[in-house]
Symmetry: C2
Subunit: 371 residues, 2 copies
């Protein structure tokens, strides 16, 4: 765009072409009712004076409406998936002036049948784009394959299906996050025994993200020539008494075990038990910035959390879909790997404050845009 | 803004008021040549249909020019201050469509006289706004006091002068960053001896940021009841041979010291020496994402870095000044404390990639804005 053309308007184009603004608009939107000769003249003037139509206003006036569907587990307040929900809501807010319908289809993350139903439901709604965390691999793969045939763009969050057709992926590097977790626990030194509390998924197979994280964790131990006995147990996320009994029985039998890991977002289940019992000689590592996990960091019952800016990245994933639908722009980077942020008692609050601040900055930008 | 008024244009206002667009424009900009009666009518219509003038375009057409001065040390490629420079340049790029002159006045960070000259030079240029890292407290304070009398807004980066009049501050929490550093070194356990390599500032007093970071470091040790002998030495940033001799002599005398810290950005001076000598039994902690520090992390001669997104935050600081000058908007948060990011060999590259990605996202937003 030439510097001197910054203020060229549609009026200028109409005046210099000797046609009405309506005709200029018709040419710009490639609509019928304009002779080839007039069209040529208008396009010449546009080129000459460097007129740039206001794409944003033009999209607003199209009144074209898009339906984006996000498929995600339903959640309780404070769960990991609430941050995903927050990201989707932030995107909705950011794009409130564009005609976008964002529908969320929920499923039970511990029930594959429920996930399959969500997939059928999605197809029945004839979406223009889909955001999904493909935690049930086979079923998600079938859905994405059908969407691909229908030319519906898909954005993955959390984990991706490599052999599928997708627009973009936003997630933490999973294998690397397990490797990092092991580094933070071991730091290259021998630890004779640790305990790993998984999450029981009601009989469902562990999903790719957990498998890869676990692989990364074991790889660190092997590659550093460390010997460590790892006890593996499963917590029941919504069965308080089951978990208490699990911890009591494990630690009465193995009081010498000082290191606890959980490669998922449920560290607070353990930290709350440690706090209840006043047990201060354990080091607990977990994942994700849930409010209860942060509380565990602050009060010293969680030593370290590996976190990501979930809501921000989900918002970026939604934006990738919107940019593709509305502005025909593909994301600059297809596989967007988040940074893995190492949090402890002494930096957690600055991390939280800085997250809020960046959101505020984004809002400022948007408000300028829509003024 | 009412939903149904989204598409109201200046044409609509003119039509409904029975006046020309020129008259509407005159009313909007409060210019003369419009009768009180017409003005009243136009304002009524504007209110009724909820017309919002395009503020951004209106500012473009004002052709008002602003001069912002950033005062900073000159630097060599790869220095900390290069990241500050990058942030200023990013801001310039982001605002290329607004009439903003950004001038940088450089000084020698090891010479207070040079800093004083930069301050006088700044005043002589009659700036509309100033960005400054007040590392020479007394001199910076005098400058800011004069600017305040002239109603020139000031943004601090790196460190701030509490008893002064400033628009906003963007910086790492300094005391807390020292405290965090000590936590990462000690993790609550005894370490008998460590060595701290400062940076010699050519006889200048250490600046507030270093003093506060150092205080935080010592506070952790004291509050955790740890006993530790700390050896303090100063490196000469640009005297390679001096540093080598310093390290050789210290470690031949104290081979038992395994923990090294440097509370500034020059960790690479030490890691390069460790690498040269093939010394692998030391743990080195440093600050800031310089390319050479990252190299130290990657090759294992630096254990941990505490980093911040310097360029991004300097860019935010510049934006605070621009929003204030151009849009009359004060920053939502006055004191913006960065998150303190804990980096090691296993997460550093994802952090770097994620920084780049966020910048790309920002560019996308801007391109929508200016299309």
């Amino acid at each position: 765009m030439e510097n001197n053309s910054k203020f060229a308007t549609m009026d200028d184009v109409a005046r210099l072409s000797g046609v009405s603004k309506g005709t200029v608009d018709r040419v710009l939107h490639d609509r019928s009712g304009v002779s080839e000769k007039t069209k040529k003249k208008v396009l010449e003037v546009i080129k000459e004076i460097g007129y740039m139509p206001n794409v944003y206003a033009s999209i607003l006036s199209q009144k074209r409406s898009y339906r984006i569907i996000a498929i995600m587990p339903y959640f309780q307040k404070g769960d990991y998936w609430e941050m995903v929900y927050d990201g989707i809501m932030a995107s909705l807010e950011q794009n409130k002036n564009i005609h976008i319908d964002i529908d969320i289809i929920y499923y039970n993350q511990f029930d594959v049948g429920s996930f399959s139903k969500a997939c059928s439901h999605t197809l029945a709604l004839d979406p223009n784009a889909v955001l999904i965390a493909p935690i049930y691999k086979k079923e998600a793969s079938a859905l994405v394959s059908t969407l691909s045939e229908l030319s519906v763009p898909v954005v993955y969050i959390d984990t991706k299906l490599d052999n599928s057709n997708y627009l973009a992926y936003y997630g933490m590097p999973l294998y690397a996050s397990g490797y990092l977790a092991a580094h933070l626990v071991f730091d290259g030194k021998e630890i004779p025994e640790i305990v790993n509390f998984n999450v029981d998924r009601g009989g469902a197979a562990p999903n790719d993200s957990m498998i890869n994280r676990h692989k990364g964790f074991l790889a660190y131990i092997e590659e550093h020539g460390l010997k460590c006995k790892i006890y593996d147990f499963s917590m029941m996320p919504y069965d308080f008494m089951y978990n208490i009994k699990l911890f009591e029985s494990f630690f009465s039998e193995h009081p010498q075990v000082k290191h606890i890991i959980t490669l998922n977002s449920r560290a607070y289940i353990i930290s709350e038990w440690l706090e209840m019992r006043g047990i201060k000689d354990k080091k607990l590592l977990g994942f994700d910035m849930l409010e209860k996990n942060m509380e565990g960091l602050r009060n010293g019952y969680i030593s370290v959390l590996i976190a990501e800016r979930t809501a921000l990245h989900v918002q970026q994933g939604m934006q990738a879909l919107i940019n593709f639908l509305v502005f025909k722009k593909k994301p600059v980077i297809k596989d967007n790997l988040f940074s893995m942020d190492v949090l402890n008692k002494y930096n957690v609050d600055y991390y939280v404050a800085s997250n809020i601040k960046e959101n505020v900055e984004q809002e400022n930008t948007t408000s300028v845009l829509t003024e």
